[in-house]
Symmetry: C2
Subunit: 435 residues, 2 copies
Amino acid sequence: MTTLQDCQALDAQDPLRALRERFALPQGVIYLDGNSLGAQPKAAAARAAEVVTQEWGQDLITSWNKAGWISLPERLGNQFAPWLGVGQGELAFTDTTSINLYKVLSAAARIAREDAPGRKKLISERSNFPTDLYIAQSVCQEYGLELVLLEPEEIAGALQTDVAISMLTHVNYRTGAMHDMAAVTAAAHAKGILCVWDLCHSAGAVPVDLKGADADFAVGCSYKYLNGGPGAPAFVWAHPRLINRFWQPLSGWFGHAEPFKFVPDYHPAQGIQRYLCGTQPMISMSVLQCGIDIYTEAEAFGGMAALRKKSLALTDLFIQLVQERCQGHGLGLATPREHAARGSQVCLTREEGLGVNGQGSGAYAIVQALIARGVIGDFRKGDGGTGRHKDILRFGFTPLYVGFADVWNSVEHLRQVLESGEWQRPEFNTVHAVT
Amino acid sequence: MTTLQDCQALDAQDPLRALRERFALPQGVIYLDGNSLGAQPKAAAARAAEVVTQEWGQDLITSWNKAGWISLPERLGNQFAPWLGVGQGELAFTDTTSINLYKVLSAAARIAREDAPGRKKLISERSNFPTDLYIAQSVCQEYGLELVLLEPEEIAGALQTDVAISMLTHVNYRTGAMHDMAAVTAAAHAKGILCVWDLCHSAGAVPVDLKGADADFAVGCSYKYLNGGPGAPAFVWAHPRLINRFWQPLSGWFGHAEPFKFVPDYHPAQGIQRYLCGTQPMISMSVLQCGIDIYTEAEAFGGMAALRKKSLALTDLFIQLVQERCQGHGLGLATPREHAARGSQVCLTREEGLGVNGQGSGAYAIVQALIARGVIGDFRKGDGGTGRHKDILRFGFTPLYVGFADVWNSVEHLRQVLESGEWQRPEFNTVHAVT
C-alpha cells in the first residue's frame, strides 16, 4: 500500500517541484480543476499592475509600439510554438477557442470546396465539447456540409472519401481519453480528409506535435493548463501548406497585410497573421504572458517529457489509491488506463440510483462535499441512464503545481466523504448553477 | 480674444470637473487621444488586482458564479444601455468590434435574404474605418452581396430599393463628421433597408438614441470614450424586433439557450445572449467595469446632456483658438462647424507640399513635435494629393477629463511648434510604425 509518507518522498524528489512555487494557490486547497481554470501565476499580479498603471495609465497609446502590444499575439505564439511542435510565424494567441474554430473550420471548408467539392461530411465526436459542435453546425449550414456525430469507436471506420473535414478534440473533456493524433491524421489524410484538432485539454498537458502528426489546423484555449487567466485569449494554428490558401471570414484589420495603411480593400497578411481579426484585450493578454513564461522556464526542468512523466505518475497514483481505498462505493473509471490514451485528468463515474433516496448518482453531491473540504474537482452530468454517459467526478492534475501528497490527501478526503456518508447532507445535494 | 485665464475660469465653473479626478493622467500631458485609447480610471488598478489576486488566485473557478463573471457581458450591457437609448437585455459587451460587426452583418444578411432576396447591395462609406469594410467584404462574399462604397454626399441618393443593408459609422474616425442617425435610418427604412451603425467614435461621446432613431443593429468599442482599457471587449446591440429572428454564425456555447446543459445541438438563447460566443477575457472585462462606472456616476452630473454641452464647448474653443492663433501655417478644418454634424474630435488638415523641403504636408511632423511637448493627438495619413483626403492632425476631446485650459495650452503649443519651425527637426520627420 502506498502511504502519505511515500507520496511526500516522491514530492521531495520531484524535479519539477520548484515550478510549484511560481503559483499562488489558496491555503488549504488541493486544486484539481486546472483543466477548467488554471491557477494564478504569482507574477500575474505584478504584470497586471504594470500593464494597467504604467503601460495604459502613463504610456497610453505609445504602448502599442513601446510595450509591444501590437505584436503580442504573435510573440506569445512564437514563444509557445515548440510546445505544440510548430514553427515560428504559424501560431497566434487571439480571440476565443470558439471563434478560432470558426476561422479554421471556415478555411478548411473553403479548401475542401475547391479541392473536393463532392465531399459533404464534417465528422466529429458526439461527446466533443458542445461549443465545437455548435460552431461546426454553423459552418456546415454555410458551406452545405452535413455534421456527422460519432462515438469514439466509430471514427476510424468513418474516415472515408465522402468526408471533407474531421474535427476532433485531442483529449475529451468528459473522460480524459486521448486520441492518437498522428494515427487518426494519417488515416484521414489517406482518404483526403482535412484534420482540425482542438487542443483545449491537451496544450501544455500532454505531448503535442502538430507538425509531426501532419495536422492541418488546430485551436485551443490558454486558461486551462497554460494558466493564462480567466478567459485569456485562445490560440490558432494552421499548417504552412494551407495557411495562405484562403482568407478566413473574420477578415478584420489585424489580419490585413498592412493594417495601418488604412486602405479600403482587404488583402490578407501572409502566415498566421491572417487569422487575427480585431484589437485584442491587452490586459488579459499581457497577464497570459506569465503563464507562457512558466512553460518557457519548464524547458530547463526537462520540458514536456518531464511534465508528462509526472502527469502520468500522478494520474496512475490517483487511480491506484481510489481502487485501494474507496472500494464499495459504486465508483468506476471513465479515463483509459492505457497511458497513450490518457490526458492529464482522471474521471470517475458513479452509477445512477446510488444518490440520496436512490435518486441520481450522488456524484454531484460527492464533488460538493469534496469542495467543502478544499479538494476542488468538478462534476459533469451524464445522461441520467438514458444513454452511455454516466455522471462524472472530474479531477485534473496539472504537473506544474499538483504534487503526490496532494493526490494522497485528495483520495483520503474522498474516502472519508464516502465512508462517513457526509456527501448525503442536504447542502451538498442542492444543485446550483454549474460552470 | 479668449485668454488662458478665461479658460481657467471655465474649468472652475465646469459641473463635470469632479469626474476628471476619476482618471490617472500622466503629469505634464494634455491627452487629446482618448478617441484612440481612453485614459485609465484610477479605480482600474485596484479592480485588476482584485480580479487577479482574489477572484482568480483565491476563489478560482467559483468566481464564475461568486464574482458574477458569467453574467458580466450582459450586466455591463444593461448598465450602459441608457447611454445608447436601448433597453435591458438588448446590449452586451463581448469580443471585438470587428467580430461583433460580422455577427450583426451576417444576421442582417440572413434577414434580407429572407425578406428581400432581390436586394444585392450593401452600402457603406469609402472613408469608413477599414476593418468595417474588410468585414463587410467577407459578409458580401458569403451572402452574394455587392459592397458599394460611397462618399458621404452620395449616401442619401443611394438609399434605394436595390440596397439590402446600410452599414455606416456614426462619427467618422478621420474627420469627426457625424451622420444624422435618425434621418438616415428613416430614409433607409422608407426604402426597406436594414441599418447597421458602428458607434466606435460616438458611444459615450455624443448623444446616441438607437431606439429613438429606430436603428436595426449597432456595434462599438469600449476602449475609446468608455475608457475600458486597451482592447477592452466591444459591444453589440440588436433591435428587439430583429434580435430573435436569426442565429448569428458565431454560435458558441455562451449564446446557447442552456450553455451548461452541454447538449450537442445549438439552440440560440433569446435576446442579446445569442450574440455571445466564447469565454470572455475576464481580467480585461472586469477592468472595463471601471470605465462604465464613471458613466453611471456622470448621470448625477447631468449625464449626456452635460457631456455633450462641454464637448461642443471644448471643440468650439479649439477651432476658435486655432483660427485666432495659428493663422498662416496652412492648416484647414476637416471637422464640421455645425454642431449637429460634429462628434467629439477636431481634425485639422494640412496641404501637400508644405512639409520639409516641400515633401508631404508636414502634418505627421507637427503631431510628433506636439507629442514631444506632451500634447498627445494623432496623425491620419491622407492620399498624398491623389484624391480627396488630406493629411490629418486629429485631436479628441473627452469631456470627462479634458478641460478648457488644456485646450488653450494645446493650441499655444501648436502655435509655438509652427512659429518656431520646431516641427521641421529631423527627429519629428522620421516615420515610425503608426498605430
